[in-house]
């Protein structure tokens, strides 16, 4: 059924035609039947905050479609984008597992269908299904490695130009869940301000530096698509 938000409503995980394409949902038939019994499906408009930093965990949220921005803020109030979560990712895992307050905020970027599983049901789900536990582990390791890359980018890059170059290289390299990529073409779902929040800079500086990279023919921008024309020079800028 088509919803007013412009996407197909899929309330039954067992019969979901795209379940096998979704990382967290691609589990055994027994596990997916259990997931179907344990979850509650909701629909939210863009801008909805699923949970906020400092809030006690209630459970985990599985994005059925759309995207969510996951961010945290430093003591000085600076926003740090941790990731853009895509369909098939689970959110709020670490707070639910560690039974402590969320360290991040999850904000929907688009209208989304979200499956929610209460903490108690989630614990039973991962206890009963080994593949579900492995999927959870995979998601946690991806989140942790993304945060480590952020630490490396912010803490070990000298200039903002170097940080930006590192970020672009990271996107073209190992962060496949973050961005759809074909060769060196990237669909960049971030605004300049959001890129600035990732590398600890300002929107103006990011706009200026991307302009300079274009001028030097290192990258090319076509709408939201970024093409790395000269990866070797980008590597030099990143200090690699």
């Amino acid at each position: 059924m088509r919803s007013p938000y412009g996407f197909d409503i899929q309330e039954n995980c067992v019969t979901c035609p795209i379940r096998h394409e979704r990382e967290f949902c691609n589990v055994s038939p027994e596990a997916v039947a259990d997931l179907q019994r344990s979850k509650a499906t909701s629909f939210y408009p863009a801008g909805t905050l699923l949970y906020i930093e400092g809030q006690a965990p209630r459970g985990v949220y599985i994005l059925c479609n759309g995207r969510a921005k996951v961010y945290t803020s430093s003591k000085q109030g600076k926003v740090i984008i941790l990731k853009i979560a895509h369909a098939g990712e689970a959110l709020g895992l670490e707070a639910a597992l560690a039974s402590r307050e969320h360290e991040e905020t999850a904000e929907l970027l688009e209208s989304c269908q979200v499956n929610f599983m209460a903490t108690r049901d989630f614990f039973r789900y991962i206890s009963d299904h080994a593949d579900a536990a492995l999927k959870t582990a995979g998601q946690l390791t991806a989140d942790c490695r993304a945060a480590q890359e952020g630490i490396r980018c912010l803490g070990l890059s000298g200039s903002v130009e170097e940080k930006l170059a590192r970020l672009l290289l990271h996107w073209t390299g190992e962060s496949r869940p973050l961005l759809a990529q074909h060769d060196r073409r990237l669909k960049v779902p971030y605004k300049h301000e959001e890129i600035a929040q990732m590398i600890g800079s300002t929107r103006e500086t990011v706009t200026r530096l991307l302009g300079a990279l274009k001028k030097k023919k290192i990258v090319e921008m076509k709408g939201a698509t970024l093409i790395v024309k000269d990866p070797e020079r980008l590597k030099q800028l990143a200090g690699e």
């Binding site: 670490e94 946690l140 630490i151």
Partner: protein, 163 residues
Amino acid sequence: MQILSFTLGLKVDKVSDLGLESLLKVVVMQKQVFFPTGSVLFREGDPAEGAYLILTGEVGTEMESPQKESLALASVQPPAYLGLVDSVAGEKYSCTGRAVRDTRGIFIPRSELLTNFSQPETKLELLRALANEVSGSYKELRMVRDKHSKRSGPRKRISQPSA
């Protein structure tokens, strides 16, 4: 403690005369590794072949840039896992672990870690440990963000020259 008994392959019911705690102590003594102050447990970039369960001492972690600049991260206090995320992911160690004080721990090979994810008794403990590593990385990221921010305070207002 659940993961210790499984990691070490203990059959507790076969040795019911011994209490679990005392049995674990004996086996832990046999399996543990010792790192004197200053020695390296693992290096950044090496294949992550397993994680350490730190039992005593303290381990400092650091990242290095290609220009060999170093960034000190939080130190790990026992009891805690070290290198767990990298080992589960089957990637390279993302940092270097160095004993800040004399340290004792147990090395758990990657294959055993993955086996433990299918054991009902140990998977929750491992997932909680992974969740703690994620949480620790977020804390570290926030600290680095503040430390390396260009402007740490509000922008100064430029006063208009008086007419």
